[in-house]
Symmetry: C2
Subunit: 419 residues, 2 copies
Amino acid sequence: MADKKKRRRAAHDSDSDSESRPFQSKLKPDSVILQTLKALKSSCSTTSKTLSLSDVGLSSTCREVADLPIDEVQSEIESLAFTIAKSILSGEGFSFSVPSRSAANQLYVSELDRIVLKDKSSARNFGNVSTVRKATITLRILQLVHQLCTSNIHVTKRDLFYTDVKLFQDQTQSDAVLDDVSCIVGCTRSSLNVVAAEKGVVVGRLIFSDNGDMIDCTKMGMGGKAIPPNIDRVGDMQSDALYILLVEKDAAFMRLSEDRFYNRFPCIIVTAKGQPDVATRLFLRKMKMELNLPVLALVDSDPYGLKILSVYGCGSKNMSYDSANLTTPDIKWLGIRPSDLDKYKIPEQCRLPMTEQDIKTGKDLLEEDFVKKNPAWVEELNLMVKTKQKAEIQALSSFGFQYLSEVYLPLKLQEQDWL
Amino acid sequence: MADKKKRRRAAHDSDSDSESRPFQSKLKPDSVILQTLKALKSSCSTTSKTLSLSDVGLSSTCREVADLPIDEVQSEIESLAFTIAKSILSGEGFSFSVPSRSAANQLYVSELDRIVLKDKSSARNFGNVSTVRKATITLRILQLVHQLCTSNIHVTKRDLFYTDVKLFQDQTQSDAVLDDVSCIVGCTRSSLNVVAAEKGVVVGRLIFSDNGDMIDCTKMGMGGKAIPPNIDRVGDMQSDALYILLVEKDAAFMRLSEDRFYNRFPCIIVTAKGQPDVATRLFLRKMKMELNLPVLALVDSDPYGLKILSVYGCGSKNMSYDSANLTTPDIKWLGIRPSDLDKYKIPEQCRLPMTEQDIKTGKDLLEEDFVKKNPAWVEELNLMVKTKQKAEIQALSSFGFQYLSEVYLPLKLQEQDWL
C-alpha cells in the first residue's frame, strides 16, 4: 500500500513537469537556495537594532507605551487613585488627562518606519456634564484592571464589558476607554491583562513555552499551534530557522504545512488568517526580536495584501500608541507581487479585475508614507493600479496544487526576489 | 515575587466570597463532584452504539456517504469514467445521476437524531443545453479530485476553484458541485481530500497524532492546539478525561484553558469559536466515538446557542448527506440555559432583550423535530421566548472573571444539571 502510493506519486511528479509548471526547470539544487537564505539571515543580524522615539529626538513630542510587569501596572493605578483621592479631598473633584487618539494626533515617522502618537491630550473631568460619563467609565476600567493585576489572570474585552453592562451600555464604550487606560497608564494592552481572541497559527522550526508548556512547532502536524492570546506567557524561543515566512491566508499556510516546507528550507511559518490580530502581531515581533530572523511576507496581490503587510510592519492608526510593541521592522515583500503576474505567467482567467473600491484603496496607499519610502513598493503598486488586475495566492493553484511550495517559493528564494 | 502573587491571590479569594459570588457556598469538595462525573462517564459506555440507516429500515429510501480510503475514491472515479466513456462510444453522450440536496429531499429521523438525505436524484445531462455547464463542471471536479488522490495531498475549496476559474466562474459553483461529487461518489468531503480552513482549538486531557506527530493537549499552554483541517491524518486518540466540554466561544475557552479547568475536573475542552466548522465537527465526533466520553455543551443562552448545539448534534441541512460522519450523538445541554438566568441570579443589566429576529428564530426552533423530541429542551426554549431575554456565557463575568470556572461549572457538574 505504502509502495503503491510512492509509485503513484513518482509517476505523477514526472508527468506534471515543466510544460504544465512553468519555471520548474530554472530551479537550482536546494543546497544553492539554502546558501542564499543563510546569507539573508546573516545580513539580518546587523540590521536588528530598532530605534526608539528618543533616538530620533521625538520623545518629548510623541508618546508611546511600554510593556510593564503587572506589579508596576498595579502601583501605577494605585498612585493614580491616590492623586484622585487627594484632589477630591482638596475640594477640586477629579479629572483625567487622556492622550488623544484622533487621526490629527497620529504621525508616521520614517526613521522608525511606523505610526506613532503625538502628545496632544484632553481633560476628562468628573465635574463636567459632558465628560462625567466617560470619567466614570475610565475609573471603573482602572478598578477592574487593578483587580486583574491582583489575581493575575487574563480576560477578553468582552468579559470586561460584562462586569458592568449597566455603566458601559455597549462594548464599544468599554473598548475605547480600555485603549485610553493603556495610554494613561503608559503600558500596552497586554500589560493590562486584557487580551484579544487569538486566531493565528504557527508551525515550523520553532520551540517556545506557552504558559509553562514547551511547544515544538515541528511536531504540530498540519494544523499547527494556535498562537496564545497573551504574549507575556510566551517565552524561551529557540529556532534553527533561516527566516520567518509570514503568510496572509490559511489555505497557503495549510499547503506549506502539509508539505512540511519548513523542513526543506528551514523556516517558521505564521499566519493570522486574514487581518492581523494583536496576538499574532505581538508573536511575530517577539520572534523577530528574540531570534533575529528576516521576515518574508506572502500576501495576495491586491491593495489589501499590501495593507496587511503594512499593519504588521508599521502598525495601525487605531493602536499607534503601542506601535513600538506591535510592529515588526524590516518585513520583505516576497510575493505575490503585481509584477509576478506576468513574470510567472499567471493565466488571465486567474487574475481578477480590480473594483472601483480596490483601485481607490490602491491609490490611497500610494499616498501613505510607509509605501512612499520604499520606491520598489511604489513601482509595484503603480503597476497594480495601472493594470487594474489583482490575484490571490491561491491563483498559483492553476499550475497544480503544489506549485506554490515546489516551484514558486523555492524560485523566489533562489532569486532573492524580495523587496 | 512568586510569594507575593500567592499572597495576593489568597487575599483576593477570601474577600471575593459568597456575597459577591452567589452559590459558592453550595459547592461540595471536588472529590464528590468527580464521583458524579465518573458515574456520567460509565453511563455513557452503554449508550455509545449509534444506529445507521439500515438499523431503522431507511437504507433504501435515504442515502448517506461514508469515509472511504483514497484508493477506493480513486477506483470509484475511474469506474465512473469508464461508464461515461462507454456511454459516449455507444453514441449516447453521457449523464450524471445527481442526488438532490434541496430542502424537500431532507428528513429528520428521530431514531437517528439527525437530518438525513432522501433518495431523490436528477439527471445532469451533457447533451442538454440547460445542464451541459453543470455536467462539464462535475466532470472537471471529478478529474481534479482524482488528481488529489494520486498525489495524496489536501487542498481547500478555494484552491480547487482556482485550478479552472474560466470554467467555474465563481466559487459558489465549484463548491456546490463538490458537494454533488461527494454524493455521487458516496464518500465524505474529507475523503475527497478537500478540506475546509480550520478554526477550532482543543486543550485538555487528550493525546492524539496529527499527521504523524504526537500531540499532548495538556501541554498546549493557554492557546491550545489548532484542530487539524484533515481528519484522516488524525489518530491514536488517548485520554483519561471523564467528559468532553464543548464550548461555543473562544473567550470562555480561554478562561477555562488559563485556569487549567481540565486538570481539576478531568476533561477535554474544544471550541469552534462560533459557528461549528466541518473540521471541528469531525474532530468532536471522532473523540466521542473513540474515547466513548459524554459531551457537555456550554453555549450562549440564545436561539443561536441552541442552533449551534443542534448542528453539532443533528447536522446542518446543507450537508445532510454526510450527517452520519459529522454529527455527535447525545450531546447534553449543560448551560447557559434560559432557566439559569434566574436560578443563578444573572443581574438584569447583563441580560439582553431578544430582537424580533431572535424571537422568530426561537419560535422556528420550537418547530424543529430535534428540539421537539427533547421535552426538557422545549421547556427551556419556551421560557426563553416567553421572557424574551438572552444572555451570553460572558454574562457570568458580572460575578467576577473566574466565576465560570470556579463556581458555575463545578456546581453544574455537582448537581448533574444537564439536559
